[in-house]
């Protein structure tokens, strides 16, 4: 994958908005945004109701993913174009999700909902009524997902990238500053992790920095591209953003998203924890 195959511009969207082979999907943290207005023809996934199992803490099953896509008119041959608020956090999480279940062609709108709004581009409130399909997902591809035991075994060995804010990394805050301060049982970070906040990969308008800037960012922070890399945050969405940067834009293999992230790690009994910058 690469920037050319995974990322599209707002101009590209304007040119292709009527193409029926593209399915535009908005995924937001603030799920009321879609109702306020969305890109014409776009459907929405609710990050909690649609993309979390609900009973156990996990991704939805293959069968539920198939049902979700089928009822929303997405077929195996569809080009899925994702975007969302919050600098595409949850849209990149959905992108990672589509890759987990092996969807062939999925792309992300550079700058997401924010750039679309900052440019004053049109949003509509009409909700499309998709024609149902019979989507068939692949078995989960866990080569892009990290689990807690893999993370513990990787301390001091692989690149571990903590993409939260410096205050969360150091243990000062338990959650991002726009959320109530809840998180893992304790504060801090995984030992040997490098703190490279997701935000450093984005421009103020929500677009990604250039590949050269991104490569320099990770190298300067001590990430060795020859090694495997695990990205984590608090609940796995911001790290999906950084996973997208490393795996899709910089085209690095062996990059995983630890979606258990700090809410899991920071609640485990007996695992090593570091605090401070």
């Amino acid at each position: 994958m690469s920037r050319a195959t995974s990322l599209v511009s707002t101009e590209w969207v304007q040119e292709n908005i009527s193409n029926k082979s593209f399915v535009f999907v908005e995924v937001d943290e603030d799920t009321t945004l879609y109702e306020k207005g969305h890109i014409e023809g776009a459907i929405t996934f609710h990050w909690r109701e649609d993309l979390q199992d609900g009973l156990i803490r996990d991704l939805i099953s293959k069968e539920k993913f198939e049902a979700l896509l089928s009822k929303n008119g997405i077929s195996n041959g569809s080009t899925v174009v994702l975007y969302g608020g919050n600098n595409n956090w949850f849209a990149t999480y959905a992108f990672w999700y589509f890759k987990i279940y092996g969807h062939a062609d999925v792309r992300l709108i550079d700058g997401g909902r924010k750039l679309w709004e900052l440019k004053g581009l049109p949003l509509v409130t009409e909700v499309p009524t998709p024609t149902a399909t019979r989507y068939v997902a692949k078995e989960r591809d866990n080569s892009i997902r990290a689990f807690r035991d893999q993370v513990i075994a990787s301390i001091g060995i692989k690149n571990i990238v903590d993409v939260r804010s410096p205050a969360e990394f150091s243990g000062e805050l338990a959650a991002p500053a726009h959320l109530p301060q809840e998180g893992g049982q304790i504060k801090g970070h995984i030992p040997s992790a490098k703190n490279i906040p997701w935000s450093k990969a984005a421009n103020e308008d929500g677009t990604f920095r250039s590949n050269e800037e991104l490569s320099d960012l990770y190298k300067a922070a001590g990430v060795d591209f020859a090694k495997e890399t695990i990205a984590y945050c608090r609940i796995g969405e911001r790290s999906a953003f950084s996973w997208f940067v490393l795996h899709e834009l910089l085209d690095l293999q062996n990059v995983t998203n630890y979606d258990g992230s700090w809410t899991e790690y920071g609640s485990l009994v007996g695992v090593p924890v570091a605090v401070g910058a």
Partner: protein, 107 residues
């Protein structure tokens, strides 16, 4: 919107544990007069960014239908940056735990 007599800026803080939270909130208004009383049209599609004392990005929220936003931060110096179609504004604040900061930002 002109909310003379009402609490300026951000949303109602009922239900927020103010004693243990450091709240920075406010409202983004367009086309009003900066006369100390909130007035103008609420900007419901602005993005508000919170930068720490070194200018490092910490958080970002979209404004709600009333143009309001809220951060749960930590005590210290912060910069609030507002991005909206055709406008950009910055406000520096000093946050304290237990005393919410309530801003009115005209763009």
């Amino acid at each position: 919107m002109r909310t003379c007599g009402a609490t300026p800026g951000g949303a109602d803080l009922a239900g927020v544990d103010l004693a243990n939270q450091t709240v920075i909130q406010g409202a983004v208004l367009r086309g009003g007069v900066s006369d100390g009383v909130p007035n103008g049209a609420p900007v419901d599609n602005a993005y508000v960014r919170l930068l720490d004392s070194t200018g490092e990005f910490t958080a970002e929220v979209p404004t709600n239908l009333e143009g309001q936003f809220r951060f749960f931060a930590a005590p210290g110096s912060w910069t609030v940056v507002v991005l909206a179609h055709g406008a950009r504004a910055e406000v520096k604040v000093q946050a304290q735990q237990g005393t919410p900061i309530d801003l009115v930002i005209q763009i």
